[in-house]
């Protein structure tokens, strides 16, 4: 039978970021998908040779604009551990607040884009409307909507005032209310279900063998979340990983939807337990040695490998981003789905190409 060969991307309206898939289709069913990367590759790991390790904070933040805070946090945690800094508890709690705020806005953004991928424009609009509240919180507390730049080695740059704390609490209440108002649409709507259930199934074994991380892994039944490692203040907060078992796009949607509510709860917890004290300590010396650190990004487990050789320039910086790990599972999910479901499946891993290619 005749096959369609279709270039999917790099410039494509459903892909916010440039990635290319050469799709082979038969009656609009995907037979094979070969990816092409490199449209966002900048080579910023290499920049550690010309930027000192302090400057690199701002650069790793720009690995990804959606989870900038978490990149910087992971980087700072690595160097703090390597250089033996004792980060104040208040800073740890503040890191949790901002990183969970990032998770909320990232997941809301994703649910919106995902809805758009299956043509549910009004849901997209509602999600992004709610998300603006989080963006306002970011802007008011850090000075920028997106790239918050609050991490330094040894703590955080900005503190939360009392007024901010109450205001965030009020905003979160609204966010929670508005998100719950969308719950029935997101998790029970017939059209949403029929576009996502059974699409792009990744079985429990497959998910693990192909190295999936984050919500993709959890949607396939693995209770694995790097926050369980207890970095920052997560060891002091009540928290259960969100797990679904079906492994399809609907399960991933459900995981992320529940994680929005979970993160709202985590921010609340962190704010109520927020200890008083310093927000950063000065860290002396230069990085030396090797270290591997993991944190949980909205998209999954983020891994930093840093090797220092006692100069102000790092010897090697390697960033294994969650999308990088989720692309092989994606390639395994694509064959057999309909063309109309390709954006749904691609978005279901919440791809962050600028993370992947750095």
């Amino acid at each position: 039978m005749a096959r369609t060969i279709l270039p999917f991307g790099p410039q494509h309206p459903v892909l916010p970021e440039p990635i290319h898939l050469t799709l082979e289709l038969e009656d609009e069913i995907v037979v094979s998908a070969v990816p092409a990367l490199g449209y966002v590759h900048r080579g910023l790991e290499k920049l550690c040779e010309v930027r000192d390790f302090h400057q690199m904070i701002q650069i790793v933040e720009r690995v990804c604009g959606i989870c900038s805070k978490i990149h910087a946090m992971c980087y700072c945690q690595s160097l703090e551990e390597m250089m033996g800094a004792d980060v104040p508890r208040r800073a740890k709690y503040l890191r949790v607040v901002w990183s969970e705020l990032h998770r909320i806005h990232s997941h809301l953004l994703w649910i919106g884009l995902f809805a758009d991928a299956f043509g549910f424009e009004s849901l997209f609009m509602q999600c992004w409307r709610i998300r603006e509240r989080i963006m306002d919180i970011n802007e008011a507390t850090t000075g920028n909507r997106v790239v918050v730049s609050v991490n330094v080695i040894g703590g955080v740059r900005r503190d939360l005032s009392r007024e901010h704390q109450t205001w965030i609490g009020e905003q979160l209440k609204l966010v929670e209310k508005e998100v719950l108002a969308l719950k029935s649409t997101i998790v029970s709507d017939y059209t949403v279900k029929s576009r996502t259930q059974g699409v792009g199934v990744l079985t429990k074994d497959q998910a693990h063998q192909l190295g999936a991380v984050g919500p993709v892994l959890r949607a396939s039944g693995w209770a694995q979340d790097a926050r369980m490692l207890g970095y920052a203040a997560f060891d002091e907060l009540d928290f259960e990983p969100v797990v679904e078992v079906d492994g399809d796009c609907y399960a991933r949607l459900a995981v992320r939807f529940r994680e929005v509510l979970q993160s709202v709860d985590l921010v609340r917890q962190a704010l109520t337990r927020l200890p008083e004290g310093e927000i950063s300590v000065p860290v002396k010396g230069k990085p030396n040695g090797e270290i591997i650190t993991r944190v949980e990004q909205p998209r999954g487990e983020l891994m930093y490998y840093i090797k220092g050789d006692d100069t102000k320039f790092l010897d090697r910086l390697r960033i294994r981003t969650p999308t990088f790990a989720n692309i092989p599972p994606l390639l395994a999910m694509l064959p057999g789905v309909e063309l109309a479901d390709v954006p749904v499946v691609v978005l279901s891993i919440d791809p962050c190409i600028s993370c992947t290619e750095r």
């Binding site: 930027r51 306002d136 920028n144 790239v147 730049s149 900005r158 649409t185 709507d189």
Partner: protein, 125 residues
């Protein structure tokens, strides 16, 4: 179908749209907008240049110039943090759009003049 309630509610309530540019929200306190240098205060110590992750600043102590490439600036505010004399600051307004390439070039007063001026001020005080 569960969305029906939601959209109907939207229809009968005010739209969420902020009618920018007719309606401009006051900026949040501490917004990291345009980078500004109070050139009279600047001591051309180069700390900002060394700290700048984007390396968009160029300071020349001898010529007493402070240059910034506003197109490369990433508004991280690190330079403001490291500035020992607080000559650098970030305004709470974002940089306006432009049709031309821009460059910020600031020429400080010659050191002698400046010191004289400072001395005079001290004397007056």
């Amino acid at each position: 179908m569960f969305m029906t309630k939601n959209v109907l509610k939207n229809l009968f309530s005010k739209s969420a749209t902020r009618l920018y540019p007719a309606e401009v929200r006051a900026p949040f306190k501490g917004f990291r907008g345009m980078l500004e240098n109070a050139i009279d205060v600047c001591i051309f110590c180069k700390k900002c240049q060394l700290a700048c992750p984007s390396q968009c600043l160029k300071v020349d102590l001898k010529a007493r110039t402070w240059e910034c490439d506003p197109f490369a600036c990433v508004y991280c505010g690190v330079c403001v943090d490291v500035c020992p004399v607080a000559s650098l600051s970030m305004r709470d307004a974002y940089r306006p759009v432009t049709g031309e390439r821009e460059m910020i070039f600031m020429q400080g007063a010659p050191k002698a003049v400046k010191e004289k001026k400072e001395k005079k001020e001290k004397d007056e005080a």
